[in-house]
Amino acid sequence: MTLLSVSNLSLSIHGLRILDGVTFSVAPGEIVAVTGESGSGKSMTALAAMQLLPKGTTTSGHVMLGDDDLTQMSEAALCGVRGNDIGMVFQEPMTALNPVQTIGRQVAETIRVHEPSVSRAEAEARAADTLARVGLPQDRFPLSRYPHELSGGQRQRVVIAIAIALRPRLLIADEPTTALDVTTQAQILKLLTRLAREDGMGLLMITHDLAVVADMADRIVVMRKGQIVEQGETQSLLRDMRHPYTKMLFEASRHEVDLPEAPAPMPLLEVKDVCRDYRLPRKTLFGQPGHFRAVDNVSFTLNRGERLGLVGESGCGKSTLTRAILGLEPVQEGSILLDGQPVFTGTKPNLDVRRKLQVVFQDPFGSFNPRHRVDRLVTEPFHLLDNAPQGAERTRAIDEALTAVGLTPKDARKYIHEFSGGQRQRIAIARALIIRPELILFDEAVSALDVSVRAQILDLLADLCSHYDLTYLFISHDLSVVRSVTDRVLVMKSGQIVEAGETGQVFDAPQHPYTQALIAAAPVLPDLSLAAG
């Protein structure tokens, strides 16, 4: 018996083909994962199953829930299905809840909207039960809490409670853990699996991360450009991998690069006993404001030519530390020296040091001015130089930087919107390289990229390492990436560095309990050779 059966579903938005003949099914109690890179149509598949499609969408084919064809239903009938028969969980827990309503009211609303006869008090009692079920017991998380009083993982639990309050037959989860830390991700995945098994609920998981679903899903559907390229039972799909795209996805996810040997240790960046405090809002009108120590007594040395990783979960202080190293903010205690000179002097960054430092940020879409051409964007660091190259020399520098990152000199006259996410990240790297800095900081630089693009960028990094003798600090929450592109790694928790060492050693034999927990929680792809055997 099938619960959800999507057959031959095609979908266009304003004439642009998004889905093409998609066919798959979900049985009661079954966990089906739909995976693929951005633009594969996986999220649109989820929205189509809810019939929550954007304006201007035309569809053909069928979406059957039991015996009902959702594509043929009236909007009023669909409102009766959504939330009642199908629940949905979204990617961004930070924005998926109404900020001005209490969590109790938002969970109770699911019940009240489908069962108008239920009294407010009863709906709230049931909401409290549901919240307890998803791990938010009343004694610690009363109904009167507002979303902003909860963490990301807790908010995602509320979103799940909203979706399962009426014990729907089908739960659709669209990238439910992408925005969460690894340890939180592991908890949420466990919760979703438990709920599906307990209620005999079908679970349709949409995710870009194969590792997330490898040990959780019963079946996997691989999508590419609106089409299903391969689907099947998880074990056999991973074992056989008939389609080259599946194989490519799998390999790109566990892509490893060959870094050249690091030169003999010679200190470049010295961070000594650094503390960074933030002032908290006053608790009482005339009381002393409290302080939050975001970075607590951190010391490390980064040698010339070394590739150092910094891992930790959100809020651990890694971004604060990055800003301090860049000289964007003063530190309260300790010193940060690059080549023996402080990065921050008096009230402003030390310009002599700043020109030896560049940074590549996470968001390839937000970190460029859309009105400037690439040549101007790439040459932005020139303002740090006393004698910035002019004329032909400038053009040569631009050409060289663009070529180094795998683009062509004629890209210099284009605008940023003409490039894909991966190309933009290449431009960001070109911008960092152009003044030949001593040190580059990569702040979650590959986190927003698809796995195949990520693999290319990591290759580019390894390549640049051998050509430019790069020294970098690679900050990321993604352990597998850090493992691949660093020589040494620092693990940060609550503002402190809890473990430091050779990357391979830290990953293979973590000493600190926190590092052990992090590594245990990180989803891993099964070893293919073992699966085959």
């Binding site: 909207v113 902003h148 909203i162």
Partner: protein, 315 residues
């Protein structure tokens, strides 16, 4: 919420103190002697001296400031030089026209703008949206004195429903008073309503794109339910800001409409006292307006706090 309100109230007091100082300094420090400015070029030295001592210009500046402020705190704004009557009395009479008129116009503006904005937002890009937006474009563009004259032409001269101007006074009863203020209030409300409707629409459209609206739809709410239950309150913050600004403007910015309808309001008083160089009245009215702006901002801040729990938490 109490701590939030206390904090906002303290900031209100500080703003008032700073504003009073600025107004005093501007009028004091402005080049020339206030007395000779008020009397004009051909003033007799004796009259000048008399006015100077009447204005207290022979005292030191800090003394005069303290006297001015403590007078105001006791409701004494001084005596108008031109009219020889207490300024408190003059302003008081005018406030009884201006405040009700501003509130009336604001109420009309909200009454029209909210439904229009919500209607347009819920039909984004459709005929209803285009129609409402076209109408608001017109509402912003039409000069309100011209619109006032059209109103008088139709409703006073042709239909004879309303009088063409003047104010009967509140002693004739609430209805008679409101009746007299109706046409001016409509004339004042038109551009305000048009602006407010546009703000309401764009604020709602921003909210409609939020993730939590999708969550609401996924729960099984209809588009309309989602808009009313989750959209509206989140869209209110920018709308409240505009309402606050509009009230302050309506209180004193209605000089032209008061002129068209012969209304004895605050706007005309300011205009007349500026023409007569009556600095005492100007200073007092300006202070009063500043006070009302700051007060309205305080109320808007409280409303923000009521609407958005995050603001309450932040302080």
């Amino acid at each position: 919420m109490l701590r939030y309100a206390t904090k906002r109230f303290l900031s209100l007091l500080i703003s008032l103190a700073v504003a009073s100082l600025v107004i005093f300094v501007v009028i004091e420090v402005a080049p020339g002697d206030p007395a000779s400015f008020m009397l004009g070029l051909n003033a007799q030295p004796e009259t000048l001296a008399a006015l100077r001592s009447e204005l207290g210009l022979d005292q030191s500046r800090p003394e005069r400031y303290l006297e001015w402020v403590s007078g105001m705190l006791q409701g004494d704004f001084g005596t108008s030089y031109t009219y020889r009557t207490p300024v408190t009395e003059m302003i008081g009479d005018r406030l009884w026209v201006s405040v009700p008129l501003a509130l009336y116009a604001l109420a009309l503006s909200i009454l029209v703008a909210f439904p229009a904005g919500i209607f347009a937002a819920s039909r984004r890009g459709q005929a209803g949206d285009v129609g409402v937006m076209g109408a608001t474009q017109l509402g912003v563009a039409v000069p309100n004195f011209w619109f006032a004259m059209i109103l008088v032409l139709i409703f006073s001269i042709n239909l004879r429903w309303f009088s063409a101007g003047g104010f009967v006074g509140w002693d004739k009863g609430l209805f008679a008073g409101l009746h007299a203020l109706t046409l001016p209030a409509i004339a004042l409300a038109l551009p305000q309503a048009a602006i407010l409707a546009r703000v309401m629409r764009s604020a709602l459209l921003d909210v409609l794109d939020e993730d939590f609206m999708r969550t609401a739809r996924a729960k099984g709410l209809t588009a309309r339910q989602a808009l009313w239950r989750h959209g509206l309150r989140n869209a209110l913050i920018p709308v409240l800001t505009i309402i606050g600004l509009q009230f302050s403007f309506l209180l004193a910015g209605s000089i032209i409409i008061e002129q068209v309808f012969y209304l004895p309001g605050l706007g005309r008083l300011v205009f007349q006292s500026i023409s007569a160089r009556d600095l005492i009245v100007v200073e007092s009215v300006v202070m009063l307006l500043v006070f009302s702006v700051i007060l309205v901002n305080f109320l808007v801040d409280l409303a923000y706090g009521a609407v958005d729990p995050r603001l309450r938490a932040r302080t």
